[in-house]
């Protein structure tokens, strides 16, 4: 399940699981193509897995969606803290 992480001054961020870090000398054109190839999500299909830092009950955690296999998950996005749901 989610593991606690030490958080310093840097803002940790998440991303898709299995994402490869592009090589520095990768041609720009290829980088643009790979961005456009992001597959749209679809009902009835598996959702893309991701890891993201989070705050949970007084602790900073790192959470991976696939840790919740076996449970029902309601994943909600919202524009920003201090707005409504």
């Amino acid at each position: 399940m989610p593991e606690e992480v030490d958080v310093g001054c840097a803002r940790p961020t998440g991303g898709p699981v299995g994402e490869t870090v592009p090589e520095e000398d990768e041609p720009i054109v290829e980088a643009i193509y790979s961005k456009e190839e992001t597959t749209m999500i679809q009902v009835g299909k598996k959702v893309p897995d991701f890891t993201a830092p989070g705050y949970h009950q007084g602790k900073f955690m790192s959470t991976t969606l696939s840790e919740y296999l076996g449970k029902w998950v309601l994943l909600c996005f919202y524009p920003g803290d201090f707005t409504f749901v």
């Binding site: 989610p2 958080v7 803002r11 940790p12 961020t13 998440g14 991303g15 898709p16 994402e19 992001t38 597959t39 749209m40 999500i41 679809q42 009902v43 009835g44 299909k45 598996k46 959702v47 893309p48 897995d49 991701f50 993201a52 830092p53 989070g54 705050y55 949970h56 009950q57 900073f60 955690m61 959470t63 969606l65 696939s66 919740y68 296999l69 076996g70 449970k71 029902w72 998950v73 309601l74 994943l75 909600c76 996005f77 919202y78 524009p79 920003g80 803290d81 201090f82 707005t83 409504f84 749901v85």
Partner: protein
Amino acid sequence: MSIDSVFVHKMWDDHELSKMVKGGVPFPMLSDAGGKVGKIYGVYDDDAGVETRGRFIIDPDGVLQGYEVLTPPVGRNVMESIRQVQAFQLIRESQGKEATPSGWKPGKKTLNPGPDLVGKVWEVWKTDMAFD
């Protein structure tokens, strides 16, 4: 999940949400700085630099059963999300033998799709059942 940092999540929970929900938010508040996750879910607004109001129901196999996306000014109907989860749970338990028609909520009649039901839905399901 929003583009806010985990530090802002903590401040929001400490100073506001814990005044609405005893003990604070009971589930993880995730940070998606840069919108990487929002992008693959199709809910990140590149121009505004924030996530839109996307809500995804994911079953125990990691399969997406439903989603809803709203622009920021309109809030969600939490009870409708719960109703949909209850419906998907019932379908999963019945292994697809039952279906929940329009207006279904727990305790109301389900349908059993099959050859016998073709052209006969009007006999077992009335229009007002969608609105009560």
